[in-house]
């Protein structure tokens, strides 16, 4: 996929260094996937909806928007899991 908005995750791990490894790994994985492989690859950590997916890793939750027709993913929101409320 074409993955855009990487400055969002890069800025995030500057303030949350513990998340850098898994965010880099997720980014490398997404960039190597075709959009149709996304669901199968992340089925145990992602909640999919019409616009994309909410992915919960070990230290962070990340919202990506996906347009499958254009094979594009965009990082929309990243948050630390220990800072999440609700």
């Amino acid at each position: 996929m074409y993955v855009v908005g990487t400055s969002l995750i890069g800025d995030f791990w500057k303030t949350h260094p513990a998340s850098e490894g898994e965010l880099r790994a997720l980014h490398a994985l997404l960039a190597s996937l075709a959009a149709e492989d996304l669901d199968e690859t992340l089925k145990h950590v992602a909640r999919f909806d019409a616009c994309g997916a909410e992915i919960r890793l070990e230290t962070v939750a990340i919202r990506i928007e996906v347009n499958r027709a254009a094979n594009v993913a965009r990082y929309a929101i990243v948050s630390a899991l220990d800072e999440e409320t609700g």
Partner: protein
């Protein structure tokens, strides 16, 4: 549409992409989204390449697919290996990368990156031998050992070197010839061979320390041919080889170290690397080398100018040195005595 030249241009592009993410398939908006995404992702690759630590990647893939360590063990063929990989006590070998890539559809390049391996524990006996050797070395030179550790070259150029020979394209006897001939404990040592160092310390103590010889592992030889190229043979270089070899072994797996060694080692006559040497001496690719030819090339690296068979005076030494490597391959169980004997009868020139 315009090129991205500034962060402002990039942000404008991202804003437009955000507005197009809901574009319907086949629509002009979807086409525009795809084109803009290509531009933005190319620009962003420069600041954040899609690369990852292989262990972090494995963890994300396993978590994402709900896979357990038991399933990793199944792919790697061993529970111990799976545990060592996940706890960073072992690097992924070429074979493991191949298995994981096939089983879980992970691109090989994502698994092939270097990662930091937890330093191996050194056994008490090994440590004693090594310490004894180093004390003798340091006192013989009347120089504090740690002085040599200053200003060590950066290992990054070697870690990132793309020129490594692909071992999967070589017949096993080629790899085995170099291991048997040059470094029989290569697959198990941590960059140096403490027993060989102890033996070399004894020899060099008796002969004086002007030009210390022996005990170099393939890892140390790789360093001598690359990061330390041009440094004269000396006690200083030996110790620097030792210090750097530990770092290289921590950052690269054995397949890659050997692959780099085979690409950089000198075979005489201005020939570097096994591909060039195979062509020069046998007019063929490394994948086509016979056992006898592989053993000869492994023997050649130790003293290229004395063993090159293209110098007729060297020929008795060429054959004798090949015979010694074949004998070592036999003792290591890499070839049968009959195979070694047949290989020893192969014509070299």
């Amino acid at each position: 549409m315009k090129p991205i030249r500034t962060p402002r241009d990039h942000q404008d592009l991202l804003d437009e992409i955000a507005g197009l993410m809901g574009a319907q398939p086949g629509s002009p908006e979807a086409d525009r989204l795809e084109v803009l995404a290509v531009l933005a992702s190319e620009y962003e690759k420069r600041s954040l390449p899609a690369e990852s630590d292989p262990v972090d990647l494995l963890n994300v893939v396993m978590r994402g697919r709900g896979l357990s360590q038991a399933e990793l063990s199944e792919v790697l063929g061993s529970r111990a290996r799976a545990s060592e990989i996940l706890s960073r006590r072992r690097n992924l070998s070429a074979e493991m990368i191949e298995r994981l890539s096939r089983a879980w559809s992970i691109p090989r390049r994502l698994l092939a990156g270097p990662f930091q391996v937890t330093r191996r524990r050194i056994g008490g006996t090994t440590l004693s031998i090594l310490a004894a050797g180093l004390v003798v070395v340091a006192s013989a030179a009347a120089t504090p050992f740690l002085v040599y550790g200053r200003n060590l070259p950066d290992v990054a150029p070697l870690v990132q070197d793309r020129a490594a020979t692909d071992l999967t394209r070589l017949p096993p006897h080629v790899v085995q010839a170099f291991i048997a001939g040059e470094d029989r404990t290569f697959l198990t040592h941590a960059g140096y061979d403490a027993g060989a160092i102890a033996r070399a310390v004894g020899r060099n103590s008796a002969n004086g320390w002007g030009h210390p010889k022996g005990a170099s592992t393939l890892t140390q030889q790789l360093l001598k041919n690359t990061l330390l190229a041009g440094e004269p043979r000396s006690l200083r270089r030996k110790i620097r080889e030792l210090l750097l070899s530990r770092e290289i072994e921590d950052r690269l797996d054995k397949d890659r170290i050997l692959g780099l060694y085979l690409s950089h080692v000198y075979f005489g006559g201005g020939t570097y690397g096994i591909a060039a040497a195979s062509k020069r001496y046998f007019h063929r690719a490394p994948a086509e080398l016979t056992v006898g030819q592989a053993a000869y090339l492994a023997a050649l690296v130790d003293a290229p100018d004395l063993r090159r068979f293209d110098r007729p005076d060297n020929r008795p030494r060429s054959v004798a040195a090949r015979g010694e490597v074949l004998a070592r391959m036999t003792r290591a169980g890499f070839v049968t005595p009959a195979t070694a004997e047949a290989a020893g009868r192969e014509r070299l020139w």
